[in-house]
């Protein structure tokens, strides 16, 4: 009796300790990751004489807050154009990526060719060829296609980054669909292709959404190609436009830069978080375990 009581107490104590540990760790992790953004958010609204004072607390307003620098970002810089361009390029790249990678992934995951596995690995290895190796020659290709300084240059080239990863992820999602699904659809009179389009695609829809979000994130962060291909500001995307237009020589528009970082980061992180669970399952289903 006494012993069980002691044991129960010990477990209860251990339980409380574990909960405290989890919350402590979670808060610490959130702080470490988000601290620069928290600080960016504060300094975006700071007055110059507050920001440029080494003695003032960088995490608090020592002078009244001002929306001037955020207004400057939105009205006096092409920031909104950059945002529009990023969205446009992102949407086009996502569409192209899906058009190419969905059939490819299906072919590799389901159509049991002897070359399926080596081809899958080969496509994944393409991901290893870095932009820093290709941008010199791709700049030539882009120029010879007459696409320099256009959004098309990015739309055409970005799928080289996104297709290999998407194929890899989609193979995982497709392998998780039971084979009976296609067989049933074919018995019902669909062709193999029809079975893929009508029966399999709806089932992997969550996976497709995860791939879309991932692809968009990669596209929005790309820097090297965007820097090499586009030099006129109306055609720039956020990742190159903000650093080149808000830093003039040695003059940094610090508050506006911080505001731009926060405004860009929040919605992407929000979207990614919505689909995080799908993305996580995508990684487990076959992509890793085959």
């Amino acid at each position: 009796m006494n012993e069980t009581e002691a044991l129960r107490r010990r477990y209860a104590r251990r339980h409380v300790a574990a909960r405290v540990g989890v919350y402590g760790a979670a808060v610490l992790a959130a702080l470490v990751c988000a601290l620069p953004f928290l600080w960016s958010l504060v300094s975006a609204f700071k007055q110059n004489r507050d920001l440029y004072n080494p003695e003032s607390n960088p995490f608090a307003f020592n002078e009244p807050a001002t929306p001037d620098h955020v207004r400057f970002l939105l009205t006096d810089t092409p920031f909104l154009t950059f945002v529009g361009n990023t969205l446009l390029v992102g949407a086009a790249v996502v569409a192209l990526t899906l058009l190419m990678s969905l059939p490819a992934a299906y072919s590799l995951a389901r159509l049991n060719r002897p070359w399926g596995t080596p081809m899958g690995i080969a496509i994944f290895l393409v991901y290893l060829v870095p932009p820093s190796l290709l941008f010199l020659s791709l700049t030539r290709v882009v120029v010879s296609l007459g696409l320099e300084d256009t959004l098309w240059s990015m739309i055409v080239v970005y799928p080289t980054i996104t297709v290999p990863v998407s194929v890899w992820l989609l193979i995982g999602f497709l392998k998780a669909v039971p084979k009976d699904v296609e067989e049933q659809a074919m018995v019902d009179g669909h062709s193999r292709l029809g079975a893929f389009a009508r029966a399999v695609l709806p089932l992997v829809f969550p996976g497709i959404v995860a791939v879309v979000v991932f692809t968009f994130t990669l596209t929005a962060s790309e820097f090297v190609y965007a820097l090499a291909f586009v030099s006129s500001s109306p055609k720039m995307v956020v990742s190159t436009g903000v650093p080149t237009q808000l830093i003039r020589g040695d003059v940094f528009f610090w508050q506006s830069l911080q505001a731009a970082a926060v405004v860009t980061a929040m919605p992407i992180a929000f979207l990614f978080n919505l689909f995080l669970d799908r993305f996580v399952t995508g990684f487990t289903m076959g992509a890793v375990k085959t």
Binding site: A18, V141, V167, L257
Partner: protein, 304 residues
């Protein structure tokens, strides 16, 4: 299966022939990749053996001249060393923190959604923008990091993080770690979620504590995904030039130049496309070797 269908409904259109379909569905991706990765890759190799500059784009074969010039340059060896140091240290930190973060993110607690959102921010922000935020964070006069350290009485004046070779490298590694840890955590989460619950519970009933379960159940079972996370971390760090380009521009005196940034400075800003390509080419064999090693490790683990 194919045979059964053929007997039932005689219908052998192109949309049903697996051999044809397999190729037809794969073809767009393959053609695209060959055209925009394969061809430029060969072109980059060709540039490495040429005297092409941005001023004079005509092609003349010059043999190994670019390579000997690159090898004779101390900066190349320095940036090669920096790349290896940068990649290994960032990769180890990314994997360790990614694993810890993943364990936190799969636990149950209130406000999880908010924590996940905040934790994802470093990865979802375009690199160039988050690195600019860090540029101010490590500023030589106004650095908030220094402000905190001053308040704690640890330093007087400023550290000047990006001005000293040692702290500059440390800063580049830490910013890269901060940026990629969330991705590693997401990948490792995938492995953690896949561990059958009863295994963990069985170990718990057998009286195994947190650390024993971690070391003898969780880590061995998630090693393949940890390897994948390491692979992603290593690739993205090895080929990355943005962090050192924006944060230090390779300085002070090449202390943080990596192969990718040095190739950019040589090939684009210096205008010597041939030498830039020769330097960039060094990224590939090392990457390939690393990737093959990790892929093989994954396979061996799965075979067990």
């Amino acid at each position: 299966m194919t045979a059964r269908r053929r007997e039932g409904v005689p219908r052998a259109g192109l949309a049903d022939r697996e051999g044809f379909l397999a190729w037809a569905m794969l073809l767009p991706s393959v053609v695209y990749i060959v055209a925009l990765v394969g061809v430029p890759f060969l072109l980059a190799v060709a540039f490495a053996f040429s005297d092409v500059t941005t001023g004079d784009p005509s092609y003349d074969f010059v043999g190994l001249r670019n390579f000997t010039a690159v090898f004779d340059d101390g900066v190349f060896w320095r940036s090669l060393g920096n790349t290896l140091l940068f990649t290994t240290s960032a990769m180890v930190l990314i994997v360790v923190f990614g694993k810890i973060l993943a364990n936190i993110l799969v636990a149950d607690f209130r406000g999880k959604w908010l924590v996940r959102f905040l934790v994802l921010l470093p990865w979802t922000t375009p690199v160039a923008l988050s690195t600019i935020s860090w540029l101010w964070f490590l500023d030589s006069i106004y650095s908030p990091v220094d402000w905190v350290l001053r308040r704690l009485g640890l330093i007087e004046g400023n550290v000047v993080w990006l001005g000293d070779p040692g702290t500059a490298m440390l800063s580049v590694v830490l910013v890269q770690t901060w940026r990629l840890t969330p991705l590693a955590a997401v990948i490792v989460m995938a492995g953690l979620v896949a561990i059958p619950r009863d295994l963990d519970e069985a170990a718990r009933i057998d009286g195994a504590g947190f650390w024993r379960r971690m070391l003898e159940v969780t880590i061995p079972l998630t090693l393949p995904v940890i390897a994948v996370a390491a692979l992603f971390g290593a690739i993205m760090t090895f080929t990355d030039m943005t962090v050192s380009y924006v944060l230090t521009r390779g300085g002070p005196t090449h202390a943080t130049d990596v192969l990718a940034s040095w190739a950019y400075f040589r090939g684009i800003e210096g205008g010597d496309v041939g030498q830039g390509a020769a330097i960039a080419l060094f990224l590939f064999p090392i990457l390939l070797a690393g990737a093959i090693a990790i892929l093989r490790a994954v396979r061996r683990l799965e075979a067990q």
